[in-house]
Structure formats: C-alpha cells, structure tokens
C-alpha cells in the first residue's frame, strides 16, 4: 500500500488549513511581500561618494573576477576639470548582463572602492534581451543615492533605502577579516554618509577558532 503514503501529506495539509497544525505557505504575492533576509543578493548598484563623484574607477577587477563573465567595463581618462570619479580614471562603460549573473557577489568583494554593491532588488522581468543588460546609466545611483527604478522593475514591496541598498560586507571589513569587526574602513556614500558597521559576526565563533589578532595596520 506504499503508493498511498504520499496522499497522507496532502491530507495532513488539507486538514491543517482548517486546524492550526499546518502552516499555509502561499502568500498573496505581489500584494503581500515576504521580508528579505539580511544577506540577500539582488541586482547591483554603482555607488557614489557623498560629493556625488562616482566611486567606480573602471579598474575591471569586478569583470575579471566574475565567474559568469557578465560584466563589461572600460575605463577612460577623467577630465581633470570635470572629473567623474576621484583620480585619473573612471568607469566609462559599465554593463552587467542579468541573463548571466548568478549573484555570487564576487564582484563586490573584488571592488577596491566599494563602487559596485548589490541591492536587494530582484523583481525584474524583461521582454527584450537588451533590457537585461544594465548599462552604467541604469546602475549608477540617483542624486539622492537611491537606485533608479527601471520600467521593468517591480518595487511594490516597498523600498527601504537603508536596508535595501549597499554593502552586506559592512559586517566585517573590506578585507573580509572578521577581526576588523566594528572598524569602519569604508568610504562615505551619497545619501547615507558613512554607514555604521554591522556587528555580531564573530560572536558565534568559538574563541579558539577566531583568527589571530593582526599585527598592526591592515592595509
């Protein structure tokens, strides 16, 4: 009678909606939206410093590290009188192809200037392949530091600028070393200033497994 076993699940669930023993999983999406987990990886944004300068220097490290090979960057000389980013070079072309991106966040780790980070925005669907390739003009944050909402993106779950944008890495440090927890080692961001560190990363690690205290410096 093994083949009837599967029906037990259905029966239990069916009974469950009428009692309190089962939990209903279905939600009325998109009217109802599940809160996103803390380390959620959505589509990218290109950040700016709080003076409005772009952070991206066109170094292509993100493109170099991307395992899906979906970032295309080209750098160019900054106009010394009207620079796009601090320094000599800025990201002249920046494109991410979301038909390929696996949201691994390696690009975010590689970026030396925290220019590229992932937001938690993930609800977008296109009817044109070209829309899937986000250009620099689409990725770079607005004048208030918020990502730009593109016509094919659904933000109906609301958008909390503080929670839905920027770096999950703020928990530790740009170098990823948990020993630097709480040390602010990142630059300011347009619209948010210097973001606070997120704490609580090393607490769960037993004392003897924690990394050694670094000598000094850390750069």
């Amino acid at each position: 009678m093994g083949y009837l076993d599967g029906f037990k699940v259905t029966l239990r669930k069916w009974a469950g909606v009428h009692t309190d023993t089962g939990r209903r999983l279905t939600m009325e999406y998109p009217e109802e939206v599940r809160p996103k987990p803390e380390r959620f990886h959505g589509r990218h944004v290109l950040n700016r410093y709080d003076d409005g300068m772009e952070k991206c220097i066109g170094c292509e490290l993100c493109a170099g590290v991307c395992p899906a090979n979906c970032i295309y960057v080209r750098g160019a000389d900054n106009d010394p009188d009207d620079p796009t980013s601090p320094g000599e070079r800025f990201g002249y072309v920046y494109e991410i192809n979301y038909l390929r991106c696996i949201h691994c966040d390696l690009c975010v780790e590689a970026c030396p200037t925290e220019a590229i980070t992932e937001s938690k925005l993930f609800e977008f669907a296109f009817t044109d392949r070209n829309d899937a390739i986000y250009t620099k003009a689409e990725l770079v944050v607005d004048d208030d530091g918020r990502p730009q909402q593109l016509p094919w993106e659904n933000w109906s779950g609301g958008f909390d600028p503080a929670a839905d944008t920027s770096g999950w890495m703020r928990a530790t440090s740009p170098s990823g070393n948990a020993e630097f927890e709480g040390l602010v080692a990142w630059a300011t961001e347009l619209g948010y200033g210097t973001r606070d560190a997120e704490l609580g990363q090393v607490a769960d690690v037993p004392a003897d497994e924690q990394p050694e205290t670094p000598d000094e410096g850390g750069h």
Partner: protein, 850 residues
C-alpha cells in the same frame, strides 16, 4: 551614458600565474663553448663559463626574481632583487646574480632563508615608496612588482606613513607618460635610452627618495624608440598614450606576428580585446629585433583602428562620387573592365602596381591573377623608389646577423637607417659599440649613423660610383685623409666586405645605385650585399612574382617551369612602375590596379603619376584607407589590413615569418588574396586561384627550390626566427646603364629627397598619436651654401628645376653636404617631387630667396 554597444563577453585569460613573470624576456640564446659545472640549489648544471649567473640559472629552469636586469642590456645591479647566496670556495655570501659571471664549481642557493629574507626586505622597501594604485595602473595584472610581491614579498606592509606624492602622469614625449610615484628606479628606461637607442634624453634627477626619472628641461623624450621603455618598465611608471586605460592586461588575447611597417620585420605580439587591436609588444627574435620596436611600428595599430578605414567597396557613380556598393557589383564591374581591356587591346593594357603591403600570399594571388589569368607582365611591387627586381633578389644575400657580425666592415650606401629601418639602426649601433664593427658611409648628408661611422665620405647625388672607384681603384690622394682612411679600412676588410645598398635619394635614379654595385662587384668580388628597401614586404612581393619578367621564386619568366599552377605565362615582357605609368599617361593602359600602392604620394615623379591616373579609364585601388590615389580611382576595393589576415611576410634578409589574423576586418573588407581569387573566377569561370591563404602558400612554396624548407614544413615560419629563403640568387643582374651626370654648374644645388620616419603617409595620418609628429617640409642647405643666398632661419626659398618649382622655408644645417639641398618626402608644405622627372639621373635645382 556609455555609447558602446550593449554586449557582454569579456574574454577570460586562464594563463597560470607562475613565479616567473610573463614579460617575454628570456636569456639570449648562446652556444656553450667553454663549459663549467656549477651547483644550483643542489643540482649540478653545465653552463657557459663567464655568462651571468642569473641567465645560467634561468636557462636551466631556476628563475631568479629581478627588476633591473634585462637580457639585452648591460647589467647594473640597481635593484638587489636578484641576490642569491653564492659560494665560490670562501663560504656563502649574498651576491647579485645579475652581476656575477659564473665560474667553475660555484655553489649557489637561490632559496635559502637569507635569500628569502633579502627578497622580502627589498620588496618591502620598494613598496614603501610605491603608491599601490594597481587598480588604475595600466601595468596592473602583468606587473613584475605585483607578481614578485605575491611570490616573494611580505604579506603585509608595516608602512603606515604618508607616501610621497607627485603630479600624476607627466608627458615625457608625445607617446609616453611618466608616473613618478610608481618608479622603482631600476634604471631600465634610462639605460635603454642611453645604451640601446642612443637618445640619452631621460635621466635620474634629484637624490634620495626624491630621485625621479625625467627629461632635461624643455627637451622631450622624442626618441623613435621611446615605446620600448614602456614595455621594459617593470612597473607602471611609464605608460603609452595609445594604450592608456584602453583595457586591462587580462582582457587582452595575444598572437605572435611580424611588424610590416618596414622591411626589418620585427617580431611582435598583436594584442586585442573585443575584436579591436589595442597594443603591439616586441618579441625577442634573436636574428632580427632583439625585442625592440620603433614607435612607428609599435603604435601602428592605431591606423587600422581608425574610423577612416574603408568598410565596403566603392564605385564612382553617375555624379562622379565614390559611393558604397555591394561586393558583387564592384567585383563584377572590375572584372568586366579587365575582360574588355584584354579583348580590345590585349592583356598588356592591364597593369598592376603594388603588393609590397600585402602578405606573400596576397602578392602571389595577384601575381598569378595578372600573369596567368589576365596574361600581363606589367606588374611591379615597387614605385620607382626601389631597385630592379633582379638586383633585389640576385645580389648574394646578407642577414642582419651577418651584417652585424663582430669585427666586420660595412660599406653603407643605403638610406638613413634611423628614418627608414629603425630597428636595423639599433642592431648596427650595438654592433659598432660592442662588437667592433666599422662602418664606412658614402652619402650626401649625415644620417642616423652619425656617431657610429668609422669614416664618412661625402658624395653628391650621382657621385657615389666615382667615389667608389677612387676608393677601390685609384689610390686616394694622400692629402685627403677621409678618403685614405676609408680606403685603408676597406682594403683591410678585403673580400669580406658587407655592403648595404638602397635608394637614399628619390631624386637620384636607380642607375646610379646599379653602377655603384657594378663597381663594387668588379673591385671586391666577394662582397656581400643587403638591399635595404623600406617597403615592408617588397622582397616577398617580388619573390611572389610581382615584378616584370619574373615568375614566383625569383625565376625569370623565360625559365619558368610550366606547372599545373602556372600553365601559361605572358608572352611579352612587361615594364616596371615607371614604364607602366608612362604607358598609362600615353593612354596605352585601360585598367590600372593599385594594390595598396599610392603613386600620387609615393612615385618620385609626381606629375607623371597624376597624368597616368587621369589618363587611365579604369583605376582599381585595393586599399585599406582612401589614399590620394584611391581617391582618384574608379573602383576602390576595401582590403583587410595587418592583423586582419593570416599569411607570411618576407623581410629585407629574405626571412619568411608568419603574420597572423587577430581581429576581423572592418565592415566587409577582404584580404587581398581573396579579392584576387574572386576577380579571377569572374574573369574566367574556369579558373580557381586558391581557396585559402594557406593553400596559396603551399602552391607558391612548391614552385621554387628556394622555398624547399618551407615546402617541407608548411607550418615552419611560425617561430620568431622564421625561415631564410634564397629565392632568385641565380638571377642575372641587369646591365649597368651609362650614367651621365649633368655638367657641373656652380649655381645649382643637387636635390636629395630623403624619407623621414614620420611623414604625411596615409597610415600615419590616420593614427592619433603619430599624426602630429610629422614635421613640415624644410629645405636643408649647408651653411656655406645658405650664407651667400642670405638664408636665415625659416627664410622662404624657391627651388627651381627644369621641371617645376617649389617654395618652402629653408634652414642651414651642417649635416648636409655642400652643393646639396635636402627636402624630405611627403611632409606638409611642399612636395619636392614636382621638381623631378622620371628618367633623369639626378635633379639639379636653383635656389633663390622667395
């Protein structure tokens, strides 16, 4: 918003990172003549006595990290990165392996704790002053400092102080930027400029941690070789403007090829990203360029990337404008015109000029099209500025290595090597300074060999044969010390004389050169010759058959063996460019094909070139860019350029090396061979010229014994040293014509039209960074000739010959011989070719202040 196309397929490199940075620098190949045993890290090695320890180790698989040592320059021991523990019998001591010659029973430890500590320390010191702006540095990703820090350096820095700051890059020259923060003071660039290029224009200035590399005030690093410093700089201190921020090194995919901007044939890598060539780097070919390139070659890719490139064929429409058409239409029209010309006035009414910019395969396809399908022998790869094909191929050859072999004597009758064959100038410089080679130069002005010649003999245009007779036949008058010294040097060399001939002066006829050759051949029967003609593949094109009277392989048409591929050959012998253009001007040519040739800009008699093109009903230009002659053509076929075609090229030694396709041609542009092959079937549907460049090559190699080595191993010219071919060495030299010089006239000056590296050429004009480097035309006069004319700086003078006049600024210059006026070819402001008539031996002009 970026305007680049929305595509995302950045290339990946998966080259493994090894301890040995992939700089392309490896020890010079040597032969072990005096073997000694040394012990390196416990392994017994047999090496050449006296060679540098750093090279001996690398040759045997132990790479010692280094910054300042370069295998093609003298060691200086600046950086101390190469310290290893050397025990020569008195216990181990740390010594710089780039300064230590190996000796018997040396025992070396390259990995001891002491060595590791030293490497760690050297790197930490270097990084103390280094800005670590790798993400914006062009070198990041292929940087020896990065790589060696990862491999041998400290994991973390203890330096927390403020670093030194300089203004970010300053311009050392038109093409090279200097970022002084990044410099590690290895002395490579300055040594290169001084030792190798002979342009000591950059130096260390200041002291201590303020030391920097810079130019003298107001004197830019304007060296023809400045790009080499960018390649050898072990950090990103020196960067090249044409490559700046164009791509990161890991974007680039690389193929080896051969530079075809001049006939030296330097080996290069062609590096591209996203179907665009972004950089060439020098490859160390031991027999040719020793890893050096000239800037014209190095930055030559800019011309091919230019937006002016022809992307589709053009045909003159009803209004007389060149308008784009489809290939089938352009080829159909071209084939039609050729067929009609053959039918109405015979195959000799079709002529082909050019081919020296093609690959061997392209030239061969065109030679075969012209000579077997059309049936005309009116083909010439040269533009009246070369030598007869029989002389180019028939003189017993000389390789660059033989020319520069230690202790030899060179008689230089060729063009200015610095301006026309830059890397050959570097080889000669090395040979004179390090290997005791002596150069005797005969010419009408001081060339780039200026400080290198053992003796320079002045000869006005046309007078060289007379000077040679004096040197070899009559004992020079004892009073004239220059002649006497030169004669003594040449006598000493005896039969082992190395002669370089060429066309140093476009206003002097080739007959003068032929007479010089004949004087030399009778006085020094053993003399060996190098024909130094500037155009890149001129020798290969001639060997492929693009010369009147010749079949492929340097066989004269009358002796050409009938084969399947060459079943018929033209019945009448044709003429060279001068003859073709004269026939065209006289209305006897119906179709003139210009295969990458621009007679209006390059033929010495400009007015003849113009008249010829105007009188020819159908001019077909096969060109990558719309040059002056293509602009006059009826049909322009867009051809694929360097880096867009596979094939082979032949340099001035007869060395056949591979050129490779790295990117796709723009638009629908096609390789020369494929255009020939398409035309062939349209002219005669029964003909199949060749399906691919490789098939054409294979056919060509099978036609002559000279190509035996290539025929055996069709893949053989792939290496940097290529394959030396001796095609045509059995050819008879043309009879020496009687050279009559005009009667001496105390008022006139004799005209020299010489070439400059940077001129107004179509390719240079299409290159952003080189276009501005060409000077304006100036008439250069000896001060003794300038004074009586009242020439101050920039006085405008009018030069008048029997054929025309030009007016241009003049300058007194003591590098010019008395009685001579030098005007450079193809510079803005004046074209001295309007003074010249084809067929004149020399060109005498009168100068007066305008």
């Amino acid at each position: 918003m970026s305007d680049a196309p929305k595509t995302t397929d950045a290339p990946k490199t998966d080259a493994p990172k090894t301890d040995a940075p992939n700089t392309g620098e490896s020890p010079k190949p040597i032969e072990i003549t005096d073997p000694v045993e040394i012990n390196v890290d416990g392994e017994q090695l047999t090496v050449q006595n006296g060679e540098l320890l750093i090279d001996a180790c690398e040759r045997n698989g132990t790479y010692i990290p280094r910054f300042c040592y370069h295998p093609r320059m003298n060691p200086v021991g600046m950086c101390r990165m190469c310290l290893v523990e050397v025990d020569s019998g008195r216990g181990p001591a740390l010594q710089p392996s780039c300064m230590i010659p190996v000796s018997a029973d040396m025992s070396v430890d390259t990995t001891s704790d002491a060595v590791a500590k030293v490497q760690d320390g050297v790197l930490e010191f270097l990084l103390a002053n280094h800005p670590l702006d790798c993400p914006v540095c062009d070198k990041g990703g292929e940087c020896p400092l990065q790589d060696q820090t990862y491999a041998y350096g400290p994991g973390e820095s203890r330096f927390v102080e403020e670093k030194r700051h300089y203004a970010k890059p300053i311009s050392l020259s038109e093409t090279v930027y200097m970022d002084r923060e990044r410099c590690i003071l290895c002395d490579r660039c300055t040594r290169f400029a001084d030792e190798v290029a002979g342009d000591p224009l950059i130096h260390f200035i200041n002291r201590g941690s303020s030391t920097e590399v810079n130019t003298f005030p107001d004197q830019p690093f304007s060296s023809y070789f400045s790009g080499n410093t960018v390649q050898i700089c072990p950090v990103g201190a020196l960067t090249a403007k044409p490559f700046r921020f164009k791509a990161r090194p890991w974007d680039l995919t690389v193929k080896e090829s051969t530079c075809t901007r001049c006939s030296v044939g330097c080996r290069i890598t062609v590096e591209s990203s996203r179907d665009e060539v972004l950089r060439y780097q020098g490859v160390d070919s031991d027999s040719v360029n020793w890893s050096w390139l000239c800037d014209k070659g190095r930055f030559g890719f800019e011309a091919y990337n230019s937006p002016q490139r022809l992307r589709e064929p053009l045909v003159r429409d009803a209004e007389g404008e060149l308008a784009p058409v489809r290939w089938s239409e352009a080829l159909g029209l071209a084939a039609d015109q050729i067929r009609r010309a053959i039918e109405s006035r015979g195959p000799a009414s079709v002529a082909v000029i050019g081919g020296a910019r093609s690959t061997n395969e392209g030239a061969y396809a065109w030679a075969k099209l012209a000579k077997t399908v059309i049936g005309t022998d009116n083909c010439d790869a040269q533009l009246g500025d070369g030598l007869p094909a029989e002389a180019v191929l028939g003189l017993s050859g000389l390789t660059i290595d033989e020319l520069c072999a230690p202790g030899g004597t060179v008689l230089w009758l060729g063009p200015d090597p610095l301006e026309e064959l830059p890397v050959l100038q570097l080889r000669l410089r090395h040979a004179v300074i390090n290997d005791g080679v002596r150069i005797v130069e005969v010419g009408s002005r001081v060339t780039g060999l200026r400080d290198l010649v053992a003796q320079r003999i002045a000869a006005r245009p046309g007078e060289t044969p007379g000077v040679l007779r004096q040197l070899f036949e009559t004992a020079p008058a004892s009073g004239d010390t220059g002649l006497a010294t030169a004669a003594a040097l040449l006598r000493e060399a005896g039969d082992d004389l190395r002669v370089v001939v060429g066309r140093p002066n476009l206003a002097e006829s080739e007959d003068v050169v032929l007479e010089s050759i004949s004087v030399l051949r009778s006085s020094v029967p053993g003399a060996r010759f190098m024909t130094a003609l500037g155009r890149a593949n001129v020798r290969g094109a001639i060997e492929a058959g693009l010369a009147p009277g010749l079949a492929p392989g340097g066989v004269s048409l009358s002796n050409a063996a009938v084969s399947d591929a060459w079943s018929t050959v033209p019945a009448e012998t044709g003429s060279g460019s001068a003859g073709i253009l004269e026939a065209a001007a006289a209305g006897r040519i119906d179709v003139l094909v210009l295969l990458g040739a621009d007679p209006i800009s390059d033929f010495p008699d400009r007015s003849l070139a113009r008249r010829a093109l105007a009188a020819t009903p159908t001019v077909i230009s096969v060109a990558p860019l719309l040059d002056a002659s293509a602009a006059e053509a009826r049909i322009v076929l867009a051809s694929a350029a360097f880096g867009e075609v596979d094939g082979t090229t032949t340099n001035l030694e007869g060395r056949v090396t591979a050129v490779t396709q790295k990117v796709n041609p723009p638009g629908t542009a096609r390789p020369d061979w494929s255009i020939a092959s398409e035309l062939a079937v349209r002219i005669d549907p029964a003909v199949e010229l060749g399906r691919s460049a490789a098939a054409l090559a294979e056919e060509m190699w099978s036609l002559s014994d000279a190509y035996a080595e290539l025929a055996e191993r069709p893949e053989s010219p792939s290496g940097p040293e290529g394959v030396l071919c001796s095609a045509g060495h059995a050819l008879e030299l043309p009879a020496t014509p009687d050279v009559e010089l005009p009667a001496p006239d105390s008022y006139s000056l004799r005209l020299v039209i010489a070439r400059k590296l940077y001129d107004g050429g179509t390719l240079l004009a299409a290159s952003d960074s080189s276009a501005g480097l060409a000077d304006d035309a100036v008439a250069l006069l000896n001060p003794a000739d300038a004074a009586p004319l009242g020439v101050q700086n920039a006085t405008r003078v009018k030069l008048t010959s029997a054929n025309g006049n030009v007016t241009l600024p003049a300058r007194a210059d003591d590098s010019v011989q008395r009685g001579v006026v030098v005007v450079h070819h193809n510079l803005a402001g004046a074209d001295a070719r309007s003074l010249v008539a084809a067929g004149d031996t020399v060109c005498d002009v009168r100068a007066e202040v305008a």
